[in-house]
């Protein structure tokens, strides 16, 4: 689970920071001449940080969602129109004048494409799996269509929540679909 490893990584980094700061603080109690050759140590600290960040960036950037399944032909396209405070999901294009939606069923293990837009303010379109994990998301912006591609590996009921604050009923703006 991506979230668990993120939390673990964060705790690990936080632990290192706490140890270093505590160690440095305690060392001032038994003071002597201070750090020897701080410029050299600073250089190594900087170099290690740079290399680590460089590796982290080059590993993560290719995993960005904009490139996901770009060379695949999706099995299905679902049109999504978000509106204060509901979602319309449809296999057909949605008329902004008279938006309407339908029950959606998606195939398992195949790439599907969501074409997400908003008819009023900015909304979020976040997909949660059956164990309430956020698995993917995009924003719904008025005037634009965002194409989100995803492959569902598990059949079941998936929830959609709005993840961009959109007004007083933001917290109940939701929808769902099934994957079979």
């Amino acid at each position: 689970m991506q979230q668990s490893s993120i939390l673990l990584l964060f705790f690990f980094l936080m632990g290192i920071a706490l140890i270093v700061f505590t160690y440095v603080y305690l060392s001032s109690k038994k003071a002597d001449q201070g750090m020897t050759n701080p410029l050299k140590k600073r250089f190594w600290f900087f170099l290690i940080l740079t290399v680590m960040m460089g590796i982290f960036a080059s590993v993560t950037i290719p995993k960005s969602p904009y490139f996901a399944f770009a060379d695949k032909t999706p099995a299905k396209v679902i049109h999504v129109a978000a509106m204060q405070f509901s979602f319309f999901l449809s296999e057909n294009a949605i008329d902004p004048e008279k938006p309407s939606g339908q029950q959606i069923e998606l195939p398992v293990d195949e790439v599907v494409e969501f074409r997400v837009t908003s008819l009023d303010v900015n909304h979020g379109f976040a997909i949660y799996d059956e164990s309430n994990r956020l698995i993917t998301q995009t924003q719904a912006m008025p005037g634009y269509v965002n194409r989100l591609r995803y492959q569902f590996d598990e059949p079941g009921k998936y929830n959609i929540l709005c993840l961009e604050y959109c007004g007083m009923a933001h917290q109940v703006m939701r929808s769902s679909f099934t994957v079979k």
Partner: protein
């Protein structure tokens, strides 16, 4: 004579900031209790409170930083008392309007007021134009203040000297104090993002008064909103750092920090990266071209590098095996730097696009920015406030009392933040007045956070009483 005036106005700033801080913390605790089901507010009340909580916190810690550097800048250049006073008056007017707009007018767009939400009126009709006016008043007031301070620096230092470019060569003739360098870098960033605010407000007004014939582009407005919002939230941290560069060594009874070539280089780079990092707020907007997204990730990473290698490392060098006179002030600074680093880890993780897709707008976001505010920037400013207030009185906070204050701050802050981080990893959305039933841990975490925020509030109240009392004395003293 002049120095008394600046002392008094700084006291007013400090009292204002602390009062609003306590009020906003209370609003925050009420929000967490509502999410936890202990309180039953209407969603509109919740979101109005959330809006004013966010705007106030950003606003007060920004002006706290500005008032701090303004006070310390007097050591190097003469600053304009008039500009300071104008900023104070306009800030008070702006803040009063904003509290009226949200608490009476029930305006609830969140502090990010993402276009076109403010124009979709779901509150008192007067609230939208008043909100836009209040934001404009604040922007203009702070612009005047920032430009005035920049002008005073430039009267003494040339552009190259203010940015410490002469330090790239060996043995420069004129030495730029680190405080001037960092203040200058930060002021340029501040002025830029306030100009962004002016452009943003102009576009809002244009649409508001056009009666529907002029419609803005949602992507442009979102970019502008975060250019302003992200940058000002970041710059206020740097205002706090300028204070640390000036005071950390001094308070500990050590020789003052000097500008070196790497300090100059790091801060010059920071200026560039900090102005492009805001793109990370638009990762989930696929309409933004990929190039900008990747620039966002790289700039977010790179902005943290010089800060870590120079500022954090300098603090370590200044403390490691060095005899230091620890007082409440430099302990607050030291703990603040640690909190800033830890919040920075959370931020860098979130600024990674492939992580952002599962963290964006979950509780991870408030988790990381609360970390470097609650445990970072706030402590920087509190350190300054305390240092300022004891300059003119002799009674100090006893060492034992300091320890109690710091322990409560750390325990309260850590528990409060932990609830956010775990919530974020549990995919719990941010900005929900009530949680859907399926998020089983959400209510417990909210109450847990509220309880620890209350513990955090105790030392804040102690410091509020302690510092305000002294500031009032300074304010009403007739001489010295």
């Amino acid at each position: 004579m002049e120095s008394i005036k600046i002392r008094k106005i700084t006291s007013i700033w400090i009292i204002t900031v602390l009062t609003l801080f306590v009020a906003s913390i209370v609003l925050g605790i009420l929000m967490r209790l509502n999410q936890g089901g202990v309180l039953q507010q209407t969603p509109i009340t919740f979101y109005s409170n959330m809006t004013i909580h966010g705007i106030t916190m950003i606003g007060i810690w920004f002006v706290a930083g500005m008032a701090g550097i303004n006070y310390l800048m007097e050591r190097y250049v003469k600053t304009s008392y008039t500009a300071n006073l104008i900023a104070l008056i306009l800030t008070v007017i702006g803040v009063l309007l904003l509290w009226a707009v949200t608490l009476i007018g029930k305006f609830h767009t969140a502090w990010t007021f993402l276009y076109p939400l403010p124009l979709k009126v779901m509150w008192a009709k007067w609230a939208t134009p008043t909100f836009l006016v209040a934001m404009s008043i604040l922007s203009v007031g702070w612009l005047i203040w920032g430009i005035s301070m920049m002008t005073q620096v430039l009267k003494k230092y040339s552009i190259a000297q203010a940015f410490a470019w002469q330090h790239f060569k060996k043995d420069p003739e004129v030495k730029t104090p680190p405080f001037i360098l960092i203040s200058m870098i930060t002021l340029v960033g501040v002025i830029t993002c306030l100009f962004v605010a002016v452009v943003l407000m102009a576009l809002y007004f244009a649409e508001y008064f056009s009666g529907g014939s002029f419609v803005n582009d949602a992507l442009l407005m979102k970019n502008l909103t975060y250019f302003f919002g992200h940058t000002i939230a970041n710059e206020m941290l740097y205002l706090g750092l300028a204070v640390i560069y000036e005071l950390f060594a001094e308070v500990g009874g050590r020789p003052k920090w000097k500008t070196t070539w790497y300090v100059a280089l790091a801060w010059n780079f920071t200026l560039i990266f900090i102005l492009t990092a805001f793109f990370h707020h638009l990762y989930m907007d696929f309409v933004q071209p990929e190039g900008f997204q990747i620039v966002g990730q790289l700039a977010s990473y790179l902005a943290s590098l010089p800060a870590a290698a120079v500022t954090v490392f300098s603090v370590w060098v200044a403390v490691y095996r060095v005899k230091i006179k620890w007082t409440l002030t430099n302990l607050l600074f030291f703990i603040g730097v640690a909190g800033w680093v830890i919040g920075g880890f959370g931020a860098v993780i979130d600024a990674t696009i492939s992580n952002n897709i599962v963290l964006h707008n979950t509780l991870w976001v408030p988790a990381h920015f609360h970390t470097y505010n609650v445990m970072g920037n706030v402590l920087f400013s509190l350190g300054f406030f305390y240092w300022f207030s004891i300059q003119f009185t002799d009674k100090l906070v006893s060492e034992r009392f300091s320890k109690l204050i710091l322990s409560l701050l750390i325990i309260g802050g850590a528990g409060f933040l932990l609830a956010f981080y775990i919530g974020g990893a549990d995919s719990i959305p941010r900005r929900f007045s009530n949680y859907p039933a399926e998020f089983t841990s959400a209510k417990f975490l909210a109450n847990f956070g509220a309880a620890f925020a209350t513990i955090y509030l105790i030392p804040i109240l102690i410091l509020f009483y302690n510092i305000t009392k002294r500031c009032l004395k300074i304010l009403f003293s007739s001489s010295s």
